[in-house]
């Protein structure tokens, strides 16, 4: 609508990231450059993924025109998202420090880069126009959810890299990691099956991310207990 509305949206996106960085204690490690590095890795990973998709997958624009929805193809495409986990692994490796600092730094860097790349142009172009649409506010709220799920993903990857991971936790971590690339697809499918409105879908995503975050937090807590951090 106006610049003021754009400001509203920006506050909704930026403030949670800022608070997560400032108040989680990782800013004391002076790891801003590590965040930037994680963000850089995110962009690099996306480029690699795009290269893969463009090389090995048929033109997705055609299916938009014909309106067909090829489930198998979509699943195959989502499989490429395993590259994200590898990228997160690289980011975690590059950050020195304790477990929670590693996880938070790479998660915040990763999610910030994602927001910057996927949402900033949309907001700049859309939320400032004279047309009002709830979807910009929704996109902003969604980026908060993305931060939570990035944290959960980073925690899972970190847990998997630990050699001292308790045996009984390993299957859970592995299962959640294997499910990771297909989560967005599952959310969409559930939303379509239940014919959810856009706001309900957002709530579903938030609930899903929160559940995943709690699950990985529990496993992190067990490991932390064991190794004493």
């Amino acid at each position: 609508m106006t610049l003021y509305h754009f400001g509203n949206c920006l506050a909704l996106v930026y403030a949670p990231y800022h608070m997560a960085y400032k108040f989680s204690g990782i800013s004391e490690y002076a790891t801003f450059s590590k965040c930037v590095y994680a963000g850089g890795l995110y962009i690099f990973t996306q480029l690699c993924k795009m290269l893969l998709l463009a090389t090995f997958f048929p033109d997705s624009d055609n299916s938009h025109i014909t309106g067909e929805y090829n489930v198998f193809l979509e699943i195959l495409k989502a499989t490429v998202d395993f590259a994200d986990l590898f990228g997160l692994y690289l980011a975690l490796n590059s950050v020195p420090g304790k477990g929670h600092a590693k996880i938070l730094t790479s998660a915040i860097g990763w999610a910030s880069a994602e927001v910057l790349v996927t949402r900033s142009v949309l907001l700049w172009v859309g939320a400032r126009g004279s047309e009002f649409d709830w979807r910009y506010v929704r996109a902003c709220a969604e980026s908060n959810v993305a931060l939570v799920s990035a944290g959960a993903s980073a925690a899972l990857v970190w847990l998997w890299t630990r050699s001292d991971l308790p045996r009984r936790l390993a299957p859970g971590v592995l299962a959640l990691l294997l499910l990771q690339p297909y989560r967005a697809l599952l959310e969409d499918a559930l939303g379509a099956a239940l014919a959810l409105s856009a706001w309900a879908l957002l709530a579903l995503r938030a609930a899903h991310a929160a559940a995943l975050a709690l699950a990985s937090l529990a496993m992190y807590a067990v490991l932390a207990q064991q190794i004493g951090i």
Binding site: L12, M19, A30, S33, K34, E131, A221
Partner: protein
């Protein structure tokens, strides 16, 4: 590694980031386009008539606006654009809007069949009222679309106005839930059009060179409140089609010397009709009569104008002087078997009633054949004047009647005695229904307002097509007329159509409420992060069953 050394750089970056933003943000704002997003709705809209007649302004005087859309009942100031269905607005409401509102957007009915006869009459009267005077606010018309239906419904049922809601909370909820519409038309100021009216005429020469001439004339433009939507099927596609068909019939008769009639027949199609005071006919007469070589209209027997002849299967002869018994007009009258409507020419009126008055002023015997009883019939200038099957039937019958009367006058037959002659006669004068239908449908599918047909090149558009059609039967001359530079008889203005953007917007208060909501959410997030260590402790205890070891 450079990233490890970058910590200092990062500190600088962090420290200065807000100041950088202070500079960068305004630059971004200046650089980015003014209106970066396309509206969710785009419509083609057609502007109301805009012309001066004898320097008296008529119609809508402006073209662009950017205003909030309101319904007929909820608008209040000149900052509102009233959006309504054309059948819903009364003439009193229009008068009020004309003087107070910022703009008017009227949505035409979905199609004619949804209208009752009363509604049709109401729309025609409204059109007449609208065109009478000048309107300073922009007035646009739009074709019906489902999107418009939604917008109209939203505007009628949602009240963004604060006085409509009871409590403050209700008002707040209203601002969040309701949709406002910002309606934008960006068009340049209407420019004067360079109008070149024309008259197309062709002559079928009679048996002897000195014999009299019969003139058959019709104007082929249409007039309605919206130039781009003036189909003018009855007025006056029907008259023009009749002229073409009569030209076809008589060119066949006149092609062989044996059956050629006595008088010459002159066919004329004029490009400006009743909306602009029959300007083409006036200029054409001046050129033909006042030039030194005035042979074309030297000895005119009578002038027959055809105007709106498809609404009923019968016609009325409109004259400005009752025909004398024994005269040519009287002969035609009795052969046609029509009633006479006598109306004296009133030069004090702004507009002449019928085209024949132009000829009567120049002392020719002239009359107009029309299915309408009165020249004041509002259907002559209406957007609802659309083609129909019934009209084609009526038109064919009226052309046949006219052709028959004309032929019996030309060949001076009293009555057909035997059946064989009558059959021969019918065969020779047969109206080709397919061709009538084709021409009628073609002409009534084109917007033929003076703004459109007099600004295209004479050999293009409707004018060019009619010229080529008539030249199949005879030699055709197209004469272009110029409007007087100093005292223009009429001035036409452009910008007849435009694109309308509709943005859905929220009131300014809505953004404040949104800010409050976001601040509330962010403080929840803040406290959640602050409380996270304690939560983690409890949670870890719950999961592992042990207190955290430090």
């Amino acid at each position: 590694m450079w990233l490890d050394e970058a910590d200092g750089f990062a500190e600088i970056f962090k420290g200065y980031l807000p100041y950088y933003l202070l500079v960068a943000l305004p630059i971004f704002i200046i650089m980015s386009p003014v209106n970066p997003v396309a509206a969710s709705h785009e419509f083609s809209v057609y502007r109301m008539q805009h012309y001066d007649l004898h320097t008296v302004p008529h119609g809508c005087r402006s073209a662009s606006f950017n205003l909030e859309g309101r319904s007929l009942t909820s608008w209040s100031t000149s900052r509102h654009c009233v959006v309504a269905r054309v059948q819903d607005i009364s003439i009193e409401q229009f008068m009020e809007i004309r003087s107070k509102a910022g703009a008017l957007l009227l949505v035409l009915p979905k199609n004619d069949t949804v209208l009752t006869p009363e509604e049709k009459e109401h729309i025609q009267l409204l059109e007449m009222a609208m065109i009478q005077q000048e309107v300073n606010a922009p007035v646009y018309f739009a074709r019906w679309t489902p999107d418009f239906e939604d917008i109209l419904r939203d505007l009628q049922h949602s009240f963004i106005t604060d006085d409509k809601s009871g409590t403050a909370l209700e008002a707040m909820l209203n601002t969040v839930s309701s949709n406002g519409y910002q309606i934008v038309v960006s068009a340049s100021t209407p420019q004067k059009l360079d109008s070149k009216p024309v008259t197309i005429h062709g002559k079928l020469a009679g048996r002897s060179g000195s014999a009299q001439t019969i003139v058959i004339a019709a104007h082929y433009d249409s007039s309605a409140v919206v130039p781009e939507l003036s189909q003018g099927a009855d007025s006056n596609a029907s008259g023009a089609v009749a002229v073409l068909e009569l030209a076809r019939i008589f060119s066949r008769l006149y092609s062989t010397a044996a059956v050629r009639g006595g008088p010459s027949i002159l066919f004329a199609l004029t490009s400006i009709g009743h909306s602009l005071n029959y300007f083409s006919a006036k200029k054409w007469l001046e050129e033909q009569l006042d030039s030194t070589d005035a042979s074309l209209l030297q000895d005119v027997s009578f002038v027959m104008c055809l105007d709106s002849i498809s609404s009923t299967p019968s016609m009325t002869m409109h004259v400005s002087k009752p025909p004398k018994p024994g005269g040519a007009a009287h002969s035609i009258k009795s052969r046609l078997g029509v009633s006479i409507n006598h109306k004296k020419i009133n030069l004090a009126d702004e507009l002449l009633a019928w085209q024949h008055e132009r000829f009567s002023i120049r002392r020719m015997t002239a009359f107009t054949l029309s299915s309408l009883q009165s020249h004041k019939d509002s259907s002559r200038s209406s957007v609802l004047d659309t083609p129909s099957e019934v009209a084609i039937k009526n038109l064919v019958q009226n052309i046949a009647t006219t052709a028959r009367a004309l032929a019996s006058h030309v060949y001076n037959l009293t009555d057909e005695v035997n059946d064989e002659d009558a059959a021969l006669y019918d065969d020779a004068l047969g109206v080709d229904e397919a061709s009538v239908r084709l021409w009628y449908n073609y002409l009534s599918s084109q917007a033929r307002a003076p703004q459109i047909i007099t600004t295209t090149a004479p050999n293009a558009g409707v004018t060019g097509t009619l010229e080529r059609a008539l030249s199949r039967y005879m030699d055709v001359t197209v004469s272009a007329h110029a409007v007087d530079k100093r005292e223009p008889e009429f001035t036409l203005y452009g910008a007849t159509k435009s694109v309308l953007f509709v943005y859905s917007v929220k009131p300014a208060v809505f953004d404040l409420i949104l800010t409050l909501a976001i601040v509330a959410y962010l403080s929840v997030v803040y406290f959640a992060i602050q409380l996270f260590p304690r939560f983690y402790e409890e949670y870890a205890k719950l999961v592992t069953g042990k207190a955290k070891v430090h």
